[in-house]
């Protein structure tokens, strides 16, 4: 049984100009001990999805099942105890810690809310600080005395406090310098090896996701367009949007970067207030046909473990006409 199951989740919100479907009929599973990547550009709904799973924003439809328990509509005390299984790390190292509390208080907050005794909290906080590689005496210091990378470690320590089974990481390294990113990514991997925690890793940076995630999901305008194992998706994307993302991602190898021919995605993201009828990607897709503009594609399995939401996916195309389609990279 998967650790986390999301079934047909929808999140809508009202804006001044109409209804925005930020997350539209999303379903996926996260197994124990795995890292699932959630990739997409701005407006795709990945952050909103993460917050909906954490019950920080209300879902208007669908189910979230955590460790066998339906948490979608829980309230009060039952929700609080369910929350101990699932925690979150945030993007902004400067905004995710309360500037008026010292680090020890911050890391101990989940324990305090859960009702632990002061002494137990102190011991656990010391243990957590060590786990994330911060000096023990740092508990008395304030967030502004730490660098971005160190603050992110404090956030990780806080998320680990109650030994959750899954941590939702919302762009945890996007705001950090390159060399610090590597430190935090390595730390997350080490922690996973030591504790078996699962990650739902939300990011717009494909190279980071490909590095750390076992499986990944690609989203566009609130819907899942492709999912599968990282190396398979990376090497042979099935959805034209995934192919476009991979083509656009800069590669730190000048010879390769300049020799490859690639077709860049043109145009702009459609307004979420007025999404295209039919496939959301049809307005920009180089392979779009009549059916795409009229009929929304359904997420279907194409190989073991791979799913794609496309009427004419690339794998099918290349099987039918092996020479006609240029693959990514």
């Amino acid at each position: 049984m998967p650790l986390l199951s999301v079934l047909s989740l929808c999140v809508r919100y009202n804006s001044a100009k109409g209804i925005v479907r930020a997350v539209d009929d999303v379903s996926f599973d996260v197994e124990a001990g795995e890292t699932l990547g959630l990739v997409g550009e701005s407006g795709c709904g990945k952050s909103t999805l993460g917050k909906a799973i954490m019950r920080l924003v209300p879902a208007c439809n669908g189910l979230v099942v955590l460790d066998g328990q339906d948490i979608t509509r829980l309230q009060g005390r039952t929700l609080k105890s369910a929350r101990q299984t699932m925690q979150m790390i945030f993007q902004d190292p400067y905004g995710s810690l309360n500037p008026r509390h010292d680090v020890g208080t911050i890391v101990g907050q989940p324990l305090s809310v859960a009702g632990w005794s002061r002494r137990d909290i102190r011991d656990r906080v010391t243990e957590l600080m060590e786990k994330v590689g911060l000096p023990a005496e740092a508990v008395r210091r304030y967030p502004h005395e730490f660098s971005g990378g160190q603050r992110q470690r404090v956030g990780i320590a806080r998320a680990l406090a109650l030994s959750p089974k899954i941590i939702i990481c919302d762009e945890p390294v996007s705001a950090l310098d390159v060399s610090v990113r590597a430190q935090v990514i390595n730390l997350l991997k080490d922690l996973q090896q030591a504790t078996g925690v699962s990650y739902l890793f939300i990011s717009h940076d494909l190279s980071v996701v490909e590095h750390i995630c076992d499986r990944l999901i690609v989203m566009y305008l609130g819907r899942i367009v492709e999912s599968g194992r990282s190396e398979e998706v990376w090497q042979q994307p099935a959805h034209p949007y995934t192919q476009a993302l991979l083509a656009a991602a800069p590669v730190a190898d000048p010879r390769f970067a300049r020799s490859r021919t690639r077709r860049l995605l043109q145009g702009e993201l459609p307004s979420p207030l007025d999404p295209p009828a039919g496939c959301a990607f049809s307005t920009r897709c180089p392979l779009a046909r009549e059916r795409c503009r009229q009929e929304k594609p359904v997420l279907r399995a194409i190989q073991s473990g791979r799913k794609v939401a496309c009427h004419y996916d690339l794998i099918e195309q290349s099987a039918a006409e092996p020479l006609a389609v240029s693959a990514a990279g």
Binding site: E41, S42, S147, G149, Q150, D177, V178, S179, V180, R181, A182, Q183, I185, N186, K189, H204, D205, L206, S207, V208, E210, H211, S230, E231, A244, L245, A247, A248, A249, P250, V251, A252, D253, P254, R255, F256, A257, R258, L264, L265, Q266, E268, L269
Partner: protein, 342 residues
């Protein structure tokens, strides 16, 4: 200029030991410490470094847009087409900005004036430096928008910045920057705030514009992927100092400075090994007020030895068209030269 440069066209920009200091409560901090570099016509130079390395301040110094109370140019020269920009008066500098040298910034949403239309801002940019009537300026504005591939250019003239997406606003910024055909364009993290597909479009656009006009381009970034895509030569900065310079392929193939190697190791797409550990550079960048004597990188360098702590390594031309400020690199290369066959 470094002696190893073979005869090339005269550079449009030459920074000569530029020094910019920050005057703060904690003392005078050397935010840019002896930076020298050149940009030739039609060439793309990338300045790479992490936050606090001084790359943005160096660019602002060239444009004479430094925030004057804390920052100030305290040494060196900024030679543009032979003239020292640091010595110009503010009026003279205003004639240079926008016409001969232009700059675009990271966040297009905050760089454009939110209360006037895009067309009005473009026309203003055009009329500031060229003596044309309003009607002609409007025509040129439409041309510019088409050149930066904004669809439906005429209608866009009456849009306000908030009605445009991030990518579109950045194109408008680029249009304003190239309006008067500058010889040099400085782009400070132009794609950092944009989505990856938009980033690719913008980089492609900049390359195209450069190819048709012999314009020099300085791109400031922390992303080695962007450097690999677009740069001809690369300057790596650390804690206000230049630590390495090389042509782009040479830099990625074999970097000389341990910091550059660390950056490459920490970049997932560069390491091309799925699932392996990323190289992380231990520690963090020292604050400008706490720079150690000797090499600024000594406390994080995996190959540090005594000389690094005692003396500050100066940039040395270690290979043709390449330089690095590292004693370790010097030692290694002289050893290689000895092996190869003195």
């Amino acid at each position: 200029m470094a002696p190893e440069l073979a005869p090339r066209p005269a550079p449009i920009l030459a920074l000569d030991q530029l020094q910019v200091s920050l005057f703060t409560r904690r003392g005078v901090l050397p935010a840019v410490d002896g930076l020298s570099l050149t940009v030739a016509p039609g060439e793309t130079l990338a300045i790479v470094g992490e936050s606090g390395c001084g790359k943005s301040l160096a660019a602002l110094a060239v444009m004479r847009l430094l925030p004057e109370p804390p920052a100030k140019i305290v040494g060196g020269a900024v030679r543009f087409m032979g003239r020292d920009l640091a010595a110009l008066s503010e009026r003279e500098m205003q004639r240079v900005r926008g016409r001969d040298i232009s700059m675009i910034f990271q966040d297009p949403m905050t760089s454009l004036n939110p209360v006037t239309t895009v067309g009005a801002q473009l026309v203003e940019a055009i009329r500031r430096h060229t003596d044309v009537a309003h009607g002609e300026a409007v025509n040129r504005a439409v041309e510019l928008l088409r050149r930066v591939r904004i669809p439906d250019a005429e209608r866009r003239l009456t849009d306000y910045p908030h009605q445009m997406s991030g990518g579109m606003s950045q194109r408008v910024m680029i249009a304003m920057a190239i309006a008067c055909g500058p010889k040099l364009l400085i782009a400070d993290e132009p794609t950092t705030a944009l989505d990856v597909t938009v980033q690719a479009q913008i980089l492609e656009l900049m390359k195209e514009l450069q190819a048709t006009s012999e314009m020099g381009l300085i791109i400031i970034t922390h992303d080695l992927g962007v450097v690999a895509e677009i740069a001809d030569r690369v300057v790596v900065m650390y804690a206000g100092r230049k630590v390495e310079e090389a042509p782009v392929e040479a830099l990625f193939e074999r970097s000389l400075h341990p910091y550059t190697r660390g950056l490459l190791g920490a970049t997932p797409s560069a390491s091309r090994r799925r699932g392996g550990r990323l190289v992380d550079i231990a520690g963090s960048v020292p604050g400008l007020a706490e720079l150690p004597a000797g090499c600024a990188f000594q406390n994080r360098c995996p190959d540090v030895f005594d000389r690094c702590r005692a003396e500050r390594p100066m940039l040395a031309p270690l290979l043709p068209r390449r330089s690095a400020a590292c004693f370790g690199a010097e030692k290694e290369l002289s050893r290689d030269a000895a092996i190869v066959g003195a």
